[in-house]
Amino acid sequence: MEHIYSRLADAVVAMSPDQVAQLARQVIAEGRSAEKAITQGLAAGMRRMGEKFAAKECFVPEVLLASKAMYAGFDILKAHITSEPQSRGRVVLGVVQGDIHDIGKNIVKVMAQAAGYDVMDLGRNVPVATFVHAAGESGAALVGVSSLMTTTMPRMGQVVEALDKAGLRKQVRVVVGGAPVSAEFSRRIGADGYAPDAHGAVLEFERLIGA
């Protein structure tokens, strides 16, 4: 019989909150490791969804439902975590001001959390100064900025500039993303990384802070 952690991962990919919750309860009942259920089960499932999304085998609604399934399991398992898991680093995420398209950012958040990052979510319609303040106060290693509209894209460059002015660019790496954004655009505004989708964003985080 397939191991329960793999079945958890499969249930996330099958986008079934009920099945995930049931398996998570079984993990606890059988006295297995909640940590392993999270990393080898829930997070592994989300990573597979990310790969499927990048390959256009699934789309936004499916990823959102899989996230819901992942959280259904996480809510049950988190109370049983015995050792504080080692965070891979803190990430500040937000959508630039004037832009309220935050579905993509929310998916990045789920993927990053699943991969073990400590995420500080600034939400959508975030002023430049808020990014800078949050990055400075939280001691984040990474800032992820997204914009879904051509009209709000220039604000991403302003975030990079403002972090620079605040003297934070040595400690903070900036990754940009969003439908109209390209690798070339990210280089031009002086960002450190670019990702075309949520899975790619996590890979960029890993590349930039050497996790």
Binding site: V60, P61, L65, K68, D99, I103, N106, T150, F185
Partner: protein, 331 residues
Amino acid sequence: MNPVGRSALFRRDAGDSGPVVVPMVAANHAARIAGISVREVVTDAGALVSALHAAYRRYEYDGIVVFTDTVVEAEAMGCRVQIPADDDPYLVESPTARRLEPVDPEEVGRMPVVLAAIRRLVELTGGLVPVLGSLKGPFSLASFLAGPDRFFADLLERPDRARETLLVATDNQRWYQSAIIRAGGLPFIGDPVASGSMISPEMFREFAWPYIARLVEDAHALGVPVGLHVCGDTTSMLGHMRDTGSDFVSIDDIDIARARRDLGANTTIMGNVSTRLLLEGAPEQVRRAAERCLELALPRLILSSACDVAPDTPEANVKALVQAAREWGRE
């Protein structure tokens, strides 16, 4: 000036007086041209007319797109919307308590502003220039009404509830579309949330297509052609877009040669010079991109931008786009 009759827009080909060019110059870029704030242009019919007419006279393209922002109908139906001083309005909160219902487009919110602008622009251009009245596709409107997160969850978990929202959105849009047509406009359906970058072709077919097709049927019953624009990567759903019955299919920044192949020779394509190139490129690059569209997609082509022309796009680039159509086939 090269005015064309409104229905001629969709029949004419390169044989007579050259290709048709209708860049998607929305209220925000027009506001820059006219030196008026975006807020004024999207809330006041007089300002909207001044801006769109100024842009039309500046660029001398073949049709006027009346598009203020994506949330006009959602706002009228009860969504809370923020209108910044000089930026596009955006959705802040979807209605929660109130029961959703269609609202009178001549009375509620900013729909009357858009309708008044359409009427006035038709008058100002003597009925000779097609005036495209933008309205949201029911899928996008429904996502605003339910809230995008809930709507996407409903599509998979509670499809009946998603369909209920879609039906109310469709009823509202049928009413609004009939008012656009009465005002002298041609309906131009934009369905940005039904984007190929967001949902699968199968989901488009099930949850976007039937409701767009209903609007197209209504417009045709009133004897008027309709256009459809969907943002993002629509490569795998072009056939579904065409099968809505729309008289032209407007494509974002995708391969136009592939689009022509998939859509066949009989479908009019609108598009698709990259809005990023228009914003950041040089006029000569815009011209080459436009020529590529003309070469690959004529005769049934309305040369245009891939999506809305960004507010700060240099005028020289929009001019280069129009010029490419004017000089096509000449020495």
